[in-house]
């Protein structure tokens, strides 16, 4: 690809120099540099704030560094409770979502087109209806059935988002698997269930892992709905973050942000291998 048309001088004027390999390399470098600044520096600012002992404007970096904010945060029982709660809810949400969306994804992948149109539209509604409006209506429903301010109430609310997402990714993953493989297993005498578990599921695993990972992160991230149906007893980490931001304790909020980001970043590194696999691409692109 790098052997561009630079050898043909005629082409250069049309391309604003884009045909020239050196020019293109420059542009990519600029883009990469710009993105590093745009993505990285805001996060770096947070890290700086979390260690700031003394930071008077207009100093670019703090004039004094300290770890006492970390101590303060880690000694606060509310923070520890929120962390435990978040990391209990996220796996439960992910597991339940996987249980109901993997069969649905499989069914979608093998269904006829007319059914899929209707279902596709039905599954788009949760995304089209403004979440926060939905949560407010849901809170009223929760009051009537006694799910308000309960663990399961929060879990079900988180599942609204993850369910749709996971169904779509698994649909695409199953669709990318050739049905002939399954038929071959059936011809060899395997039951439909056996064919699914022995042939289809292992091939679909990377896609399912990515979808589960996204569900986990989405659950960790969910704040607005949890705020509505989970207060005052079920305060997850991002909900606590809302209060910290509005109370303007900048270093404390910064420390909390850093702590809240670490598990996500660990997951990112753990999942890097799968994220570059073709299944993610399939998951997002070919629904």
């Amino acid at each position: 690809m790098a052997l561009a048309t630079g050898a043909r001088p005629m082409s250069v004027p049309y391309a604003w120099g884009l045909s020239h390999p050196g020019m293109r390399r420059m542009l990519i470098r600029l883009l990469a540099g710009g993105l590093v600044v745009f993505v990285g520096v805001p996060l770096l600012t947070l890290v700086l704030w979390s260690f700031a002992g003394e930071w008077f404007w207009p100093a670019v970096v703090p004039t004094q560094f300290t770890t006492r904010w970390y101590q303060a945060v880690l000694e606060n029982p509310r923070v520890i409770d929120a962390m435990i709660l978040s990391f209990t809810i996220a796996p439960v949400v992910t597991l339940l979502t996987a249980l109901i969306s993997i069969p649905a994804g499989y069914a979608f992948a093998r269904l006829n087109v007319p059914f899929r149109r209707v279902l596709l539209l039905l599954f788009l509604i949760p995304n089209a209806f403004p979440r926060i409006g939905l949560y407010v209506s849901l809170a009223v429903l929760y009051y009537q059935v006694g799910l308000i301010d309960t663990f399961w109430g929060v879990v079900f609310l988180h599942m609204i988002g993850t369910l749709v997402y996971m169904t779509w990714i698994t649909t695409a993953t199953f669709r990318s698997i050739n049905p002939a493989l399954e038929e071959a297993a059936r011809d060899a005498g395997a039951s439909p269930v056996r064919a699914f578990f022995a042939v289809v599921l292992p091939i679909a695993m990377p896609g399912i892992i990515v979808a589960s990972l996204f569900s986990f992160l989405a659950s960790l991230d969910e704040a607005q709905g949890t705020l509505v149906v989970g207060t005052p007893h079920f305060i997850t980490m991002p909900v606590l973050m809302y209060t910290l931001i509005s109370s303007f304790e900048r270093p404390i909020a910064a420390v909390f942000s850093v702590l809240l980001t670490i598990p996500s970043l660990l997951l990112l590194f753990a999942a890097q291998r799968y994220l570059q696999s073709e299944y993610v691409a399939a998951g997002l692109g070919r629904i």
């Binding site: 048309t5 045909s19 590093v36 805001p42 600012t45 404007w57 403004p130 409006g133 939905l134 931001i245």
Partner: protein
């Protein structure tokens, strides 16, 4: 049969609350001289929303912000995706590692990072101070529409880029190379092969980001201006501050109807792809 559990779940937790909201938006509340409320059925709430100058400016503001965000994310992500698909070298490896990061940052934290980064007397401001910019000349970005747009672009970047990269991956090297062999310039290849082939696939990303920004709450709540507000924020204000379920539901329905336009567009694009 296998779809039933998820359909049942969606019915209870999505469709029923959504229908409740739709009915509520059609309930008109009137107050007589004694302070008693009476309710009737009609579209008066919608008429009020459209004729009220404040709500109307909120609606326009929401639509404009959503379109601006989608446009910016599309252009930026397309550039990154092109570089990832057709570029080589260390810069591309840096891009691969960096663009995905916002996907793993909770939106509350991203918003907070942007506040510390872009606020007046924030990080960028003090950087510019050191370079000699007079105090007070830094534009207002946080608590303004610019803050919403920048943060939403930041957050949506990975999703759109992953999507576009996968779409570009589906365009075969053979096709591109054969075009090159017959003398097409890079620009011509882009205009006549890459762009048209990638547009239908990009539709899903455009729709998703549009819906996401349109109905968003966290980012505009933490970073947006007080007036005009995005509908998500104004809706919560009606709900929580004024206990006005009817008008809050009406605003939810307005966002929903706007979203439907995008959703219908998306579903039609998908049908076209399936027919092919």
């Amino acid at each position: 049969m296998m779809v039933l559990p998820s359909l049942a779940f969606l019915t209870v937790f999505v469709f029923i609350p959504a229908i409740t909201a739709a009915l509520e938006s059609l309930r008109v509340r009137a107050r007589d001289n004694l302070g008693n409320y009476s309710y009737s059925f009609g579209v008066q709430n919608y008429i009020n929303a459209i004729t009220d100058p404040v709500v109307r400016s909120d609606i326009v503001f929401t639509i404009v912000i959503s379109i601006v965000c989608v446009a910016l994310v599309s252009v930026l992500s397309y550039a990154i995706a092109l570089a990832l698909r057709f570029g080589r070298g260390p810069a591309v490896r840096v891009l691969t590692r960096v663009y995905i990061i916002p996907l793993f940052i909770p939106s509350v934290i991203a918003s907070y990072a942007m506040i510390t980064f872009l606020a007046n007397h924030g990080f960028v401001d003090s950087m510019l101070q050191q370079l000699g910019l007079p105090d007070g000349t830094f534009p207002r970005i946080v608590f303004d529409w610019k803050g919403i747009v920048i943060t939403q672009v930041w957050l949506s970047l990975p999703f759109m880029t992953v999507l576009l990269t996968s779409v570009l991956q589906e365009i075969s090297d053979t096709l591109v190379e054969s075009a090159r062999d017959v003398g097409a310039t890079s620009w011509a290849i882009f205009r006549q092969i890459v762009l048209p082939l990638s547009l239908p696939g990009a539709a899903i990303g455009v729709t998703f980001i549009f819906l996401h920004v349109l109905g968003g709450f966290t980012v505009p709540y933490l970073l947006g201006p007080n007036a005009p507000q995005m509908l998500g924020v104004s809706m919560v204000a009606y709900m929580v501050n004024y206990y006005d379920r009817e008008n809050a539901s009406t605003q939810a329905m307005i966002i929903f109807l706007l979203s439907l336009v995008a959703a219908v567009y998306y579903v039609r694009q998908q049908f076209k792809r399936e027919v092919r």
